[in-house]
């Protein structure tokens, strides 16, 4: 959460730099410095900091042990819901909205299964894979 807030702050800082600050500062910079060079440099620095923070966030998330019992259970819930949606769609063949919901739900069930199965042993204990 802290990282998210920090990233949000960085984005906000960059937005402020790229809009409100550029015009007034251009009148005061020395002539040999290209207009807006200061804000651009600062924006570049902030972008680099944001990339670094994102990399760190990825590392932290990779290090975080998954809550496998919960993830396994939610995966089952997702796939149960997908089956229910498709059962309804089967009863209403030719309904495009239901057909689309079934397809989307099925895709999400498959993706959930892939994601969880790569990190957790769900059969039966729900523990992280080594």
């Amino acid at each position: 959460m802290t990282v998210t807030i920090r990233l949000g702050f960085l984005s906000l800082s960059m937005a402020v730099l790229s809009t409100g600050c550029a015009a007034p500062q251009a009148a005061h910079v020395p002539t040999e410095v290209p207009p807006e060079a200061g804000p651009r440099r600062e924006a570049a620095r902030l972008q680099a900091a944001q990339r670094e923070a994102e990399t760190r966030l990825d590392e932290l998330q990779a290090d975080t042990a998954p809550d496998c019992p919960r993830a396994c259970e939610i995966k089952e819930v997702i796939c149960d819901l997908a089956r229910r949606i498709c059962a309804i769609a089967d009863r209403h063949q030719g309904d495009p909205e239901l057909h689309e919901r079934c397809q989307d739900a099925t895709r999400r069930c498959q993706r959930a299964s892939q994601k969880v199965d790569t990190r957790c042993d769900c059969d039966p204990p729900g523990s992280p894979l080594p």
């Binding site: 939610i74 089952e76 309804i88």
Partner: protein, 170 residues
């Protein structure tokens, strides 16, 4: 907290996960608010859930429904955060909806699920479970399309919750 009590294979999170989530909500209420009335409200919410569990264990559904109905309608004091108050009341609404489904009263179940969802929504299992309960009620009433919509919305929330459980926000 109750889950998986109406039919053999409902797409709802287990009692253990729901109970842990509700305990976390109530612990948060008790720890942060620091006012006498919020403490009383939290204790009463815990006690009401416990008494409802006991009534259900004794097959006294009427008592359980009465207790949960009072909790669902009981607005939290100002010292309790709006979110915590919503979650406690939504859990009661969810339990009521499931009890009504068990008793083949889908119209009543629909009413409680709607009431719970009108309290607010979030990307949390309380909202997801209310959507599933409303989906069941809609399906039992023959409203297949709204049911599919509810299930789909619940699925999307559960997808977020799964990513959180895996430690990934994507």
């Amino acid at each position: 907290m109750i889950c998986r009590r109406t039919t053999s294979h409902q797409p709802l999170l287990s009692r253990a996960i729901m109970a842990a989530a509700m305990a976390a909500v109530l612990a948060g209420c008790a720890g942060c608010a620091g006012r006498a009335d919020s403490g009383r409200w939290v204790r009463r919410a815990l006690e009401t859930n416990r008494l409802a569990d006991r009534a259900l264990a004794e097959r006294d559904t009427a008592t359980a429904v009465g207790l949960l109905r009072d909790l669902a309608r009981d607005q939290a004091p100002a010292a309790v955060s709006a979110r915590d108050g919503r979650l406690v009341r939504q859990d009661a609404c969810f339990r009521l909806a499931l009890l009504q489904l068990q008793q083949d009263r889908p119209d009543q179940a629909l009413g409680w699920a709607e009431y719970g969802l009108e309290l607010g929504r979030g990307q949390d299992l309380f909202t997801a479970n209310l959507l599933v309960a409303r989906g069941h009620a809609n399906q039992a009433l023959g409203h297949d399309k709204p049911a599919a919509r509810d299930y789909h919305q619940a699925l999307l929330i559960n997808e977020d919750l799964m990513n959180q459980a895996l430690g990934r926000p994507d």
